[in-house]
């Protein structure tokens, strides 16, 4: 079992222990009885069967006792689950956005991240938002999971982490080609550290040091934003066109139904990120990519451009 790190862990684990405990008792008990019978009543040792039609008393007993036990299981399951649905009024509010095939998290101050950063011992209320198809947000260490359904307003989940550390976060509703790569991390921090991180909005404008490798920074962006789930770096087609050799080429596109050629330059990159369906690369389908307006800044696009240029070297 995954070691837990949230306020729900105890209730959920108790239900697991109760159900699995009783189940193991019956599984092992009945299996041993069967093995005993196979030995004891083997036709070599017991050549003549004794005919028994049945017993109403036994039927009642083995209806009532299991019924009582499963009602107990229902109860433990209910008790462990109920607090998950009692969303508190106060807490850190975060919007989780899912798209094929990456998560992003928007904080109330406008900060957007790829990992989920949360303070320890504080209620965290996550609004679940899916842009394209059904996804599901699952944090095994917290014992929480809730589907992210496109078009479903006010869909929320909450939890209160109680241990500092990094934990896996998965998409658990099958969402297409790169579903299994749609995972990230939850970073649970000390509250002081978290609030310092939270208010440090300078991180939004990345301080680029003198002599920094711009192409490398661009590459990190392309990786963290999930671009590579659809755009390969080796010339192969995944969902969208490959990045390899794209920079400086002439791209055959369809704009408002008109076929034309445009130069793959900085303006084209910006338009493709903010309005993906404006110029559709011929041979590819519209509607596959959603706008990254508000998620990738223009400054970051400059870095991505540096990275795309570097692919031609």
């Amino acid at each position: 079992m995954n070691p837990g790190a949230s306020n729900f862990v105890e209730g959920v684990n108790n239900a697991f222990i109760f159900i699995i405990g009783i189940s193991l008792f019956f599984l092992i008990g009945i299996t041993l009885v069967i093995i005993l019978f196979l030995y004891r009543y083997n036709k070599k040792r017991h050549p003549k069967a004794v005919q028994i039609e049945g017993s109403n008393k036994l039927e009642v007993i083995w209806t009532i006792i299991p019924l009582a036990l499963v009602m107990g299981m229902f109860y433990y399951g209910y008790v462990g689950w109920k607090p998950m649905k009692r969303i508190p009024d106060e807490g850190v509010r975060i919007t989780a956005n899912a798209r094929m095939w990456s998560f992003s998290f928007t904080y109330e101050n406008g900060r957007i991240t790829e990992k989920l950063y949360v303070p320890v011992d504080t209620a965290v209320i996550v609004r679940l938002n899916a842009l394209d198809v059904v996804h599901s947000l699952y944090i095994p260490a917290f014992r929480v999971k809730e589907d992210m359904v496109p078009g479903l307003a006010n869909n929320q989940m909450w939890f209160q982490p109680n241990k500092v550390g990094n934990y896996s976060l998965f998409c658990t509703e099958y969402c297409g080609l790169q579903h299994s790569f749609m995972h990230t991390e939850v970073v649970v921090m000390e509250p002081a550290e978290f609030w310092e991180w939270y208010s440090d909005t300078t991180a939004v404008a990345i301080p680029i040091e003198e002599g920094a490798d711009l192409a490398l920074l661009g590459r990190q962006l392309v990786e963290s934003k999930g671009c590579l789930a659809c755009h390969s770096l080796d010339g192969s087609t995944i969902i969208g066109p490959s990045f390899l050799g794209a920079w400086g080429s002439n791209v055959p596109v369809v704009t408002n139904g008109q076929e034309r050629e445009v130069a793959f330059d900085e303006a084209y990159v910006l338009r493709s990120i903010y309005e993906p369906d404006a110029d559709i690369h011929q041979g590819y389908r519209a509607g596959q990519m959603f706008s990254y307006q508000g998620e990738i800044t223009e400054q970051q696009i400059e870095l991505i451009v540096e990275f795309l240029k570097s692919l031609n070297e």
Binding site: M1, N2, V12, F16, I19, I20, S23, F26, L27, I30, I34, F37, L38, Y41, N42, K43, H46, P47, K48, A49, V50, I52, E53, G54, S55, L58, E59, W62, T63, P66, M73, F74, Y76, G77, Y78, V79, G80, W81, K85, V133, S136, P140, R143, V144, K145, E146, D147, V149, P150, G151, L152, S168, T172, E173, C175, G176, L177, H179, S180, G287
Partner: protein
């Protein structure tokens, strides 16, 4: 043309006589031949589905790309699911052994509507062919999983429609078989065979048939709505068009949960036949088993919501579905207790069908008990859509229905083919299969509790250990399957001939007729005086 109401010297099976060779099979209205047609079709597709599963497990033996890319993997688990669910386990036992043995076990010469029965097989084959076109035509094989969840199934460029339409056509095959069996059981039982003198396998076929009739139309309508949405752009399920994806999940599971009972009930019936015969003892609690069968068939309609505990349904709906789910566990438990009690003070004859039946009880218990973990809300949230679920339903559908199918095949084989299989090889195959099966699926429970989501082409290194054992188990299990099938296929053609009517000492009617059964099963319709398992005298 013939008519069963004609004078008794005109058989309604006559017109089969005008055909020869292959046509004498595919146009035969004889229930036994139709049962065998289903058997051969299923075994062929089962082999395909099993190989797909083996490829998937081989891919998962290590993180990262092993033998294929994500696109191939997603297509594989979709096709594996469609084949195993729609082509194998849903028609499964009723179509093969129900067709072959239901009329014989209730003392009838055929089912009520022999030509409708043939039509069912044809619809089944046509449905399969339509599904297969999805693999070869259009923009690539479907990659949605067998559940075709909206809105992904509308957005993927893959060729989803033929698969959906094929499943729709197969649905009609299922409904027609259901109607046929209900009428057969109501109208054609031998004189003296009251409801409570009917053997338990026909009883489970009866419960199953009602589910087939009442639940299958729901999936039919749902699949048609998908077609309407994809082709005509009517917004029903796709939120981009104003539809509701949760509605799709409800409609899908309103059918697909009862369908689980379509799969497992006849399996329970087979086990209820085999255990008394090899214990030389009447079944313990006949009426309790009958009542639990009907209770499962009934309550099974009201628990579909437990597939959607994390979908965003209201809390009240969630605990109601959880409560009902626990109720449906009870009749299954009652059956297990009665089977084990049947063995008590019996005279146990350890033969291949009995090995399968006893191991059925073991794997079915694991499947059922882990179902309790999934029925409880708190634990479900953690393991929902993880490998735990995959392990659970393979224990039920493959462990339950699959073991029962193997048990039935080894039990009725001599009657069906008039030849005996090699018992040594059969037992060896069973042993290897049993070990491989548990090595394959048991680790998945642990992977799921650890947090590994299902339908993952790739996984984090944390999950490597369980996956290695599971993948090796798959290879062991496949070796077992090869031994079992090779033995049965060889024996069906060259096995030792037998005309012995009753090799296992059974009491039901199929063991009183010729081996293999004659065209009309009975020279004279028997009159029934005793219960089906009167081992006393």
């Amino acid at each position: 043309m013939s008519d069963s109401n004609n004078a008794h010297n005109v058989s309604y099976l006559d017109y089969k006589g005008q055909y020869k060779g292959l046509s004498a099979w595919i146009f035969s209205t004889d229930h036994k031949r139709i049962g065998l047609l289903y058997l051969y079709t299923m075994l062929a597709f089962f082999s395909v589905g099993a190989i797909l599963g083996l490829l998937m497990k081989t891919e998962l033996i290590a993180p990262g790309a092993t033998i294929m890319g994500p696109k191939a993997y997603n297509a594989l688990f979709t096709l594996h699911g469609i084949i195993m669910i729609f082509i194998i386990v849903v028609p499964g036992l009723p179509a093969v052994f129900g067709n072959f043995f239901l009329p014989i076990m209730i003392g009838a010469k055929d089912v009520a509507f022999p030509r409708l029965n043939l039509l069912s097989w044809w619809l089944y084959v046509i449905g399969i062919l339509i599904v297969l076109t999805s693999q070869f035509l259009g923009d690539g094989p479907p990659d949605t999983g067998w559940t075709f969840y909206a809105p992904y199934s509308f957005q993927t460029p893959a060729n989803v429609l033929p698969a959906v339409f094929g499943a729709f056509v197969m649905g009609f095959s299922s409904i027609l078989t259901g109607i046929n069996f209900v009428v057969t059981i109501h109208r054609m039982r031998a004189p003296g065979m009251t409801w409570f003198k009917m053997p338990l396998f026909p009883w489970t076929l009866y419960g199953t048939a009602w589910i087939q009739i009442l639940a299958t139309p729901v999936i039919g309508i749902t699949l048609l709505l998908i077609v309407a949405e994809r082709l005509l752009g009517i917004g029903i399920f796709d939120p981009a068009l104003g539809g509701d994806p949760i509605l799709y999940q409800h409609l899908f599971w309103i059918y697909s949960h009862p369908a689980v009972y379509i799969m497992i009930l006849p399996g329970m019936g087979v086990i209820s036949e085999i255990i008394p015969v090899f214990s030389k003892k009447t079944i313990f609690g006949y009426k309790a088993i009958v009542l639990s069968t009907m209770a499962i068939a009934f309550v099974g309609y009201f628990v579909w919501g437990h597939h959607m505990f994390t979908s965003g349904m209201s809390g009240r709906a969630l605990y109601t579905f959880s409560f009902l789910t626990f109720l449906v566990a009870i009749p299954s438990a009652i059956k297990v207790f009665n089977w084990v009690s049947t063995m008590h003070k019996g005279s146990l004859d350890m033969q291949t069908p009995f090995y399968w039946a006893v191991s059925f009880i073991f794997v079915f218990m694991i499947g059922g008990l882990t179902g309790l973990v999934l029925g409880s809300l708190a634990t479900n949230v953690h393991v929902h859509d993880t490998h735990f679920v995959v392990a659970h339903f393979h224990y039920i559908v493959f462990g339950g229905t699959g073991y029962a199918f193997m048990a039935a095949l080894h039990y009725w084989f001599p009657k069906m083919f008039g030849r005996m299989y090699d018992l040594g090889w059969a037992n060896l195959g069973w042993g290897i299969f049993f070990i491989g099966f548990n090595a394959l699926y048991l680790p998945m429970f642990f992977l799921g509790m650890q947090g590994m989501p299902r339908r993952y082409y790739d996984y984090l290194p944390d999950f490597h250990g369980g996956n290695i054992i599971s993948s090796l188990g798959a290879w062991v299990m496949i070796s077992g399957i090869i031994i079992i099938f090779a033995n049965l296929i060889r024996s069906a053609r060259h096995g030792k001939k037998t005309t012995q009517k009753n090799p296992w000492g059974g009491k039901t009617l199929e063991w009183q007729v010729e081996t293999p059964p004659t065209l009309e099963n009975f020279e004279e319709i028997p009159t029934i005086e005793k219960g089906p398992y009167h081992f006393g005298e």
